[in-house]
């Protein structure tokens, strides 16, 4: 920020305003991206500490440190924070904003002021959701899924929490329409669809999901509020309503939402792996196409969360079949990533380590998804710790590790300074080890029958729960170390200039840190995003 940054006319110091207002009222996509980065990682750290507390309670059967009500409120808060405050807005908000406009050769997104409004809405929604902890009937205890009729009956402050999420939904919609418009209208000369970096491709697919699925969440949450405030009874079985309709509406949004979480992560991985292999990504077209395919097919499978709900058997048949169809484009991606390594020149620096472990962890999580997608096996593991294991593998091991990869890969570019390599790798090792101990134990627990959202459990589950808790400490150590290293490196570390990793996408062609207007003159793109020779790396 200081010396390295002031050396040029970077976006860090070029602004009419000063102090905090230069940030929270800035319409520069890079500043907004950093705002998102700070706020989402802030909530991530808060949420992750909640996760740690959950694990301490589960260390041993019976009461360990809290009562069941607190536990229920905590896992709800943990889930809501992680999903709505971290993982959904995180990738598009932070790295989408930071990187995407530069990647396509634009000076900003299509609607910069709307972009700022998105962040404001996100913060407002987050604060509303969090204020539910201290007002009304206290912190909501419904789980992040807000299932009726429990959520319409409980005395806790569900209404406010749900309203906060509703507001955050608006923010996601605005980001989505901004990104689609940007990618359609603001690509530089020569930036054809076939030359779009895969990260941008994935954001494009994500934006469509945000636009088409989020409104359904909005109306669903409005109906829950109406149910609580006005007594509309649309989901109340006592008044002729059908609780399963809530589940349909909720998952019509929330299943596609898991692809909002994973698609940008896959995009980032597709950008990182070629750079550290110095080799064009294998099967560019298939990877780009499979992002769109995942987004499209992902809208058809929501029913797989309801196999045991009492939904009709025919619906089980359809949704199970379609669920397996979504797995195919994911498989294509995995195979293409691995083939990219073949005969490359591979350097295991921190971003690459995180990217490669993404592949492993996401595969473990995704393959567990297959067990969940098959009707018979899902009946056994539904609502058990197996599901908890599955989604931590895909969300934390997948999106989370990709987020860390992206942090190590892109943040030096924007800060002009870099972290130290060795601590980064040690932190990675701790995280990878702790992660697997923690969540693989949960998967086994689930297969053995331990339900999820259980404050207390039978003694037969004690050993693995203890293992998981110990794993969570190793993981926490790694995460803490990674953040310390990142923060201190980005603020005071060695200068980071030029294009040390040899990336061929446009963001590596501009100054480090990028100037406010990104490009002094409109760039003309003459080669593909992974064409390292044409990019003149050597």
């Amino acid at each position: 920020m200081d010396k390295a940054a002031t050396a040029q006319n970077s976006f860090w110091n070029d602004t009419g305003r000063s102090g905090l207002t230069a940030w929270i009222f800035s319409t520069d996509h890079k500043r907004i991206g950093l705002l998102y980065l700070y706020s989402t990682t802030g909530f991530f750290l808060a949420g992750v500490i909640l996760g740690l507390i959950l694990r301490i309670e589960l260390m041993a059967p019976g009461r360990t440190i809290m009562d069941p009500r607190t536990y229920n409120a905590l896992f709800t808060l943990h889930g809501v924070t992680m999903i709505f405050l971290f993982i959904l807005p995180g990738f598009p908000g932070a790295f989408g904003n930071l990187v995407m406009p530069i990647q396509i050769g634009a000076s900003d997104v299509a609607f910069p002021r709307l972009n700022l409004l998105s962040w404001w809405l996100y913060m407002a929604g987050a604060l509303i959701a969090l204020s539910s902890l201290f007002t009304g009937g206290g912190p909501p205890d419904t789980g992040w899924t807000f299932y009726v009729p429990f959520s319409t009956r409980t005395g806790t402050n569900v209404t406010l929490a749900v309203f906060g999420v509703f507001v955050i939904g608006f923010s996601a919609i605005l980001t989505g329409m901004n990104f689609i418009t940007t990618i359609h209208r603001l690509r530089a000369k020569g930036m054809t669809w076939g030359r779009l970096p895969l990260f941008t491709w994935s954001l494009y697919a994500t934006a469509w999901v945000q636009i088409l699925a989020t409104p359904i969440l909005a109306i669903t949450l409005l109906l829950v509020m109406a149910e609580r405030l006005l007594g509309t009874g649309l989901f109340d079985p006592g008044r002729g309503g059908d609780p399963l309709m809530y589940q349909h509406l909720f998952w019509i949004y929330s299943h596609p939402a898991v692809y909002i979480m994973i698609l940008p992560a896959m995009g980032a991985i597709s950008d990182i792996i070629p750079v550290f292999s110095r080799k064009p990504v294998f099967g560019y077209k298939m990877i780009a196409f499979s992002s769109v395919a995942i987004a499209a097919a992902g809208s058809l499978v929501w029913g797989h969360h309801m196999f045991t709900s009492g939904m009709s058997d025919r619906a089980v048949l359809v949704f199970s079949l379609l669920t397996f169809i979504v797995a195919i484009p994911s498989a294509i991606k995995v195979f293409n990533w691995v083939s990219t390594l073949y005969k490359g020149s591979i350097s295991l620096e921190a971003p690459m380590l995180f990217a490669l472990s993404f592949i492993l962890l996401f595969s473990i999580g995704g393959l567990a998804g297959l067990i969940l997608g098959a009707a018979a096996t899902d009946v056994h593991v539904h609502d058990t710790q197996f599901v908890v294991g599955h989604f931590h593998y895909v969300m934390f091991g997948g999106t989370g590790f990709a987020f860390f990869a992206a942090m190590h890969y892109w943040l030096p570019k924007f800060f002009g300074r870099r972290y130290r390599e060795k601590p980064a790798i040690i932190a990675w090792g701790l995280m990878f080890t702790g992660f697997n101990i923690l969540y693989f134990s949960m998967k086994i627990l689930g297969m053995r029958g331990m339900p999820r959202r259980y404050y207390d459990y039978l003694p037969e589950f004690a050993d693995l729960n203890l293992a998981a808790t110990v794993g969570s400490w190793i993981l926490a150590l790694g995460v803490a170390m990674m953040f310390v290293n990142l923060v201190s490196g980005l603020l005071r570390g060695e200068p980071f200039t030029g294009n040390p990793w040899g990336g061929a996408t446009l963001e590596w062609s501009v100054a480090t840190p990028p100037p406010t207007e990104n490009f002094a003159e409109e760039p003309v793109v003459t080669h593909g995003p992974y064409d390292f020779t044409a990019a003149g790396r050597r």
Binding site: Y284, Y342, I371
Partner: protein, 305 residues
């Protein structure tokens, strides 16, 4: 019982599990091995430059589109067949009705006997009809691979057969509030003869159930929230409740009271009238208790010193 007539729920689910798990494991090991091999073999210290610039291969792409497609279709098929096994109740199954409420189970048998544990005869399929008194619960017996949500306003069912005598865990799998993790009971599989005796004995015992407060408290779900041994659960413990002095909130105002019979009666019929300080107003009212049942409960509470 002719064992070849039906396959158990475990036999329906497990093959699908082994197939998907096994295929996944093989694939995962292959992918991980290939990845690690490439990373080591093509490390930059050995190959400062890539030795190939191939960026696409249509045959490979086709291969790894088709291969997973075939594989997942097989997985789907196994899963679906197993699911059908779970849904097809064999003829001649014994029928039991399970009622879930916050936070306890109650099982009703033909002939009118009820119990908080699920007693079943060994070797005979049992069909459970599921009903909920309040929110969504989940009927889950890991040992038999059965799970079905218990949705208010909807009749669900599940079936299983216990092949060996023994006691199996039964969980509430669907999150239902504070006592969710305490909504645990067992399936007691008894040899057919013992089961018949149990059922017959219960028929007699039932008449006196109203008089037996403890059984009643169990059947009505009181013990899901109140303990008899002094430990607080969701609600205050019943132990030593009579004559206890405590602070309650009446219409939002705190006042001190001493527990007497009249207060107990009101607490059961209109729990929201006086809410014990430090507890949530979550106890459901019990207007449907018969006078005899209410009397028996009060008797029980009064006697717990």
């Amino acid at each position: 019982m002719n064992r070849t007539q039906f396959m158990t729920t475990g036999q329906a689910v497990d093959p699908a599990f082994y197939f998907i798990f096994g295929a996944s494991l093989i694939l995962f090991i292959a992918i991980a091995a290939a990845m690690i091999f490439f990373v080591i073999r093509y490390r930059r210290s050995k190959f400062p430059e890539p030795t190939s610039a191939v960026a696409a291969n249509i045959w490979l792409e086709i291969l790894w589109t088709m291969l997973p497609t075939i594989l997942v279709l097989a997985m789907f098929w196994y899963g679906w067949q197993g699911y059908l096994g779970l849904r097809r109740v064999p003829p001649g199954a014994m029928e039991v009705t399970a009622t879930a409420r916050m936070w306890s189970w109650s099982f009703a048998y033909p002939g009118g006997r009820t119990s908080p544990k699920l007693y079943v005869p060994v070797g005979r399929p049992v069909k459970i009809t599921l009903e909920s008194a309040d929110v969504i619960h989940g009927f889950f017996i890991p040992a038999f691979r059965v799970k079905r949500d218990v949705v208010p306003g909807m009749k669900g069912d599940a079936w299983f057969v216990a092949e060996k005598k023994g006691s199996y865990d039964l969980f509430c799998s669907s999150y239902c509030g504070t006592g969710h993790s305490a909504m645990v009971t067992t399936v007691e599989a008894l040899p057919a003869k013992e089961f018949e005796e149990w059922l017959a004995d219960g028929g007699r015992g039932e008449a006196s159930a109203a008089a037996d407060g403890r059984k009643l408290a169990e059947a009505k779900g009181c013990l899901g929230c109140h303990s008899l041994d002094g430990s607080p659960k969701v609600g205050p413990s019943f132990k030593g409740i009579m004559g206890r002095s405590e602070v309650v909130l009446t219409g939002g105002k705190e006042r001190s009271i001493t527990v007497d019979r009249e207060y107990l009666r009101r607490s059961i019929l209109q729990p929201s009238a006086d809410v014990v300080k430090g507890f949530q107003p979550v106890m459901p009212p019990y207007p449907a208790l018969s006078p005899a049942e209410l009397e028996a409960l009060l008797e029980l509470l009064g006697g717990l010193k």
